[in-house]
């Protein structure tokens, strides 16, 4: 019965359009009252759920990302990517994907990637004779790469939702190879689609221009180097690196590019505050929700239930993947991570799956959900930037879904893709 109160209240409030954080909080509140326990615990969990040092990386990475989008960094990375893969079949589509790889190294947000890269690439692709839906499709699905490559604040959310004992440094490192595989498989899909529609290629600009564009992109690339170099050489920790990213982004935009006026600075700060407050309130309320799930023994009983269904971890992982894909079509990424990690992670661990590996599966899976209707933040951003209706973009997106799902299967069933690199660094 308690579970009906918990999930029932949550679902009803969600459907009538109550903000997700309050659906989670109020459902926990109602359940605590139903159980006859002191409701004060709901608000204690809310407070301690957001009072976690590692969570600080979320405002910092978001802040750094906002500053960088306002600086000139995204445009320069796109220009650089153009010199590398522009002459491949489907030229600008390939450029778009590689630009997402570069941008993904400085940003942890798929929506930021879709608006920054999409804003630059989609109009350009349209002018060169590409179909707009192709331009939007490539932009949207390749944005998932930003989630996989470090930094990724969603991996931090995962680590904390998993009890805060999963190494963030390991998670960051683990995402690199799957992120690159995703890029390669999307490039393959882009190649096939481009061949079918006979899309143009870009002429190779020559090594001189390649060199000068590379130099122009260096400040953006240096950030990647600073974060990695700084963490690996012991100057700062993985969570502190997010703060250094803010300082660096501030110095670059304020001093090097001189694109940061006082108004732009306060705007960027307020934008970061708004996004962070929204995301972290959900995390705090989900901490109450997660506490109740643990109190009511939901994960423990789910493990027993699933063990009764199958003893094969492959089958269990497939079921979890399908559940996450379905949930992902309806809900946003960060609330889903905080809600489902305490439920599914113990199951995965009971079946012998490494928590780091499971984190990568989860991020990739829910990343795909960001690109699907009916609720897909990144899909909406891409369609808004390209000015195409969602249904039109989705009609031709399937080759990219296929590539992303194929990558998900590879990442799910070959743990080494996620675990080999962190083990190397250990």
């Amino acid at each position: 019965m308690e579970l009906y109160v918990l999930f029932g209240t949550f679902t009803v409030l969600l459907l009538i359009g109550t903000p997700v954080a309050f659906c989670l909080g109020t459902a926990s509140f109602a359940t605590i009252v139903y159980l006859g326990l002191p409701p004060v615990v709901v608000f204690q969990r809310l407070n301690s759920g957001v009072s976690v040092f590692a969570l600080m990386a979320i405002p910092f990475f978001i802040y750094a990302g906002v500053l960088m989008v306002r600086g000139d960094i995204a445009r320069r990375l796109v220009a650089l990517a153009g010199t590398w893969v522009g002459s491949f079949r489907g030229g600008l589509g390939q450029v778009n994907i590689v630009a997402s790889v570069l941008f993904g190294g400085v940003s942890g947000s798929a929506a930021a990637d879709a608006s920054a890269i999409g804003g630059l690439m989609i109009p350009q692709m349209r002018d060169k004779g590409y179909d707009v839906d192709y331009a939007v499709n490539v932009t949207v699905v390749s944005s998932i790469i930003a989630l996989m490559l470090p930094p990724s604040h969603n991996l931090i959310i995962y680590s904390i939702s998993g009890g805060g004992r999963i190494s963030i440094a390991d998670l960051f490192t683990a995402g690199i190879i799957p992120g690159i595989i995703l890029a390669l498989s999307l490039m393959t899909a882009a190649w096939f689609v481009a061949k079918k529609h006979n899309y143009p290629t870009e002429p190779f600009p020559g090594f001189r221009i390649m060199g000068s564009l590379f130099i122009g992109a260096v400040p953006g690339l240096i950030l990647i180097a600073i974060i990695f170099g700084g963490v690996r050489s012991g100057v700062f920790t993985a969570s502190e690196s997010s703060c250094i990213a803010v300082v660096y982004a501030f110095l670059i935009t304020a001093l090097a590019y001189r694109t940061l006026s006082w108004e732009a600075f306060t705007d960027a700060t307020f934008a970061a505050v708004r996004t962070t407050a929204m995301v972290l309130l959900v995390i705090g309320c989900a901490a109450s929700f997660g506490w109740l799930l643990a109190y009511l023994r939901v994960p423990a009983e789910l493990v027993v239930f699933l063990q009764g269904l199958s003893e094969n971890p492959f089958v269990i992982l497939l079921m979890i993947n399908i559940a996450l894909l379905v949930l992902g079509t309806f809900m946003d990424m960060s609330p889903l991570i905080v809600i489902t990690t305490p439920i599914f992670l113990p199951v995965a661990v009971a079946f012998g799956v490494d928590p780091v590996h499971f984190g990568i599966i989860m991020i990739l899976n829910l990343g795909i959900g960001l690109c699907t209707p009916p609720v897909g933040a990144v899909l909406f951003v891409g369609c808004a930037v390209g000015n195409v209706p969602v249904w039109q973009a989705v009609r031709s997106i399937w080759p990219f879904y296929f590539a992303a799902l194929a990558t998900l299967l590879l990442v799910t069933y070959i743990p080494a893709l996620s675990l080999w690199l962190p083990a190397l660094f250990r």
Binding site: P38, V41, Q44, S48, F53, I168, V231, S233, G234
Partner: protein, 308 residues
């Protein structure tokens, strides 16, 4: 005979994983209680910090949301004054000394102090002795420690202790310690044998100096609200079971320490046993002066030192 279903289920929190001596001890206690109440009272352990970190679960126990809680003495330092003495460096001369103090009058007096804070103190469990480990060199003297960065828990006493020893105290979340030692953000940390082993820190910090600066016992507390709901006879059964779980726990703890020690040694850790402990203890004077301020604390410290 335990035939009937549980009428009362006491939920107990623990931050350690399943199979850890504290978790096993509370589970053992649960079996004893169930047996002696004819199955009426059961204990269910929520291990691995499922219900939150120690600081949070202490508050939850005070509210009566959870019934029992196995926690370190450390987080109580800023709540219950008397508990501070157990977090003083080198307060106990040895494990035997510690057991003498805890099992005797002083231990009972400190447990009694919990009652003013809506808690009932049931039992003390072992947590071994904490010592320094680092990635740089075998530390034998105070001179060796100078300027080294050690991770400590967020606690005034522990920070002051490391500073007084000449080190650089660096508070940091536990989850970041491994990679921070590995990359050189810090030089080392401090902990007991089982944690040194299970955290994997021995892989990156192979020099373990047995200076045994802290012996902070664990404590099993119960919510006063839940306690008062029990009948006098169930309360007595619980107290007795708690008492009996202590030797069970101590035995398991010793075994666990030994197993960890063997594993760490096999992995090539270098153990420094001959430490100039008197120099370390002398260096603690300012720490005692700063933190043992009230007459109450001074008295307890003197009583502990008087225990043979």
């Amino acid at each position: 005979g335990a035939a009937a279903a549980c009428e009362i289920t006491l939920r107990s929190s623990d931050t350690h994983p399943e199979g850890y001596p504290t978790v096993a001890a509370v589970e053992h206690l649960g079996e004893l209680v169930k047996e002696r109440t004819d199955g009426r009272v059961c204990v269910e352990v929520y291990h691995s910090a499922q219900l939150g970190e120690e600081k949070d679960t202490i508050e939850q126990t005070q509210f009566g949301v959870i019934d029992m809680n196995r926690v370190s003495m450390g987080p109580f330092n800023n709540i219950i004054e008397e508990t501070k003495v157990f977090s003083l460096p080198y307060i106990f001369r040895s494990t035997e000394h510690m057991h003498q103090v805890l099992d005797g009058e002083i231990g009972q007096d400190v447990l009694a102090a919990f009652e003013d804070h809506d808690l009932i103190g049931l039992a003390y469990y072992d947590a071994g002795a904490r010592s320094f480990y680092n990635s740089q060199k075998p530390v034998k003297t105070l001179e060796d420690l100078k300027g080294m960065k050690f991770r400590v828990m967020q606690s005034d006493v522990f920070v002051d202790m490391v500073s007084a020893l000449g080190g650089n105290a660096t508070p940091m979340p536990y989850g970041e310690v491994y990679s921070s030692i590995q990359t050189g953000v810090i030089d080392g940390a401090e902990n007991n044998w089982p944690s040194y082993e299970s955290s994997g820190h021995f892989e990156v910090a192979k020099y373990y100096t047995l200076d045994q600066h802290l012996m902070v016992p664990e404590v099993l507390v119960m919510s006063k609200k839940s306690w008062e709901k029990l009948s006098a006879e169930d309360q007595e059964a619980l107290r007795e079971a708690a008492r009996e779980s202590v030797p069970f726990m101590r035995k398991m703890w010793a075994e666990r320490e030994e197993a960890s020690r063997e594993q760490v040694l096999k992995a090539g850790a270098e153990i420094v046993e001959e430490v100039d402990k008197t120099a370390f203890i002398d260096a603690m004077k300012p720490v005692y002066e700063k933190h043992v301020t009230s007459d109450n604390l001074k008295q307890i410290v003197e009583r502990i030192q008087a225990v043979k």
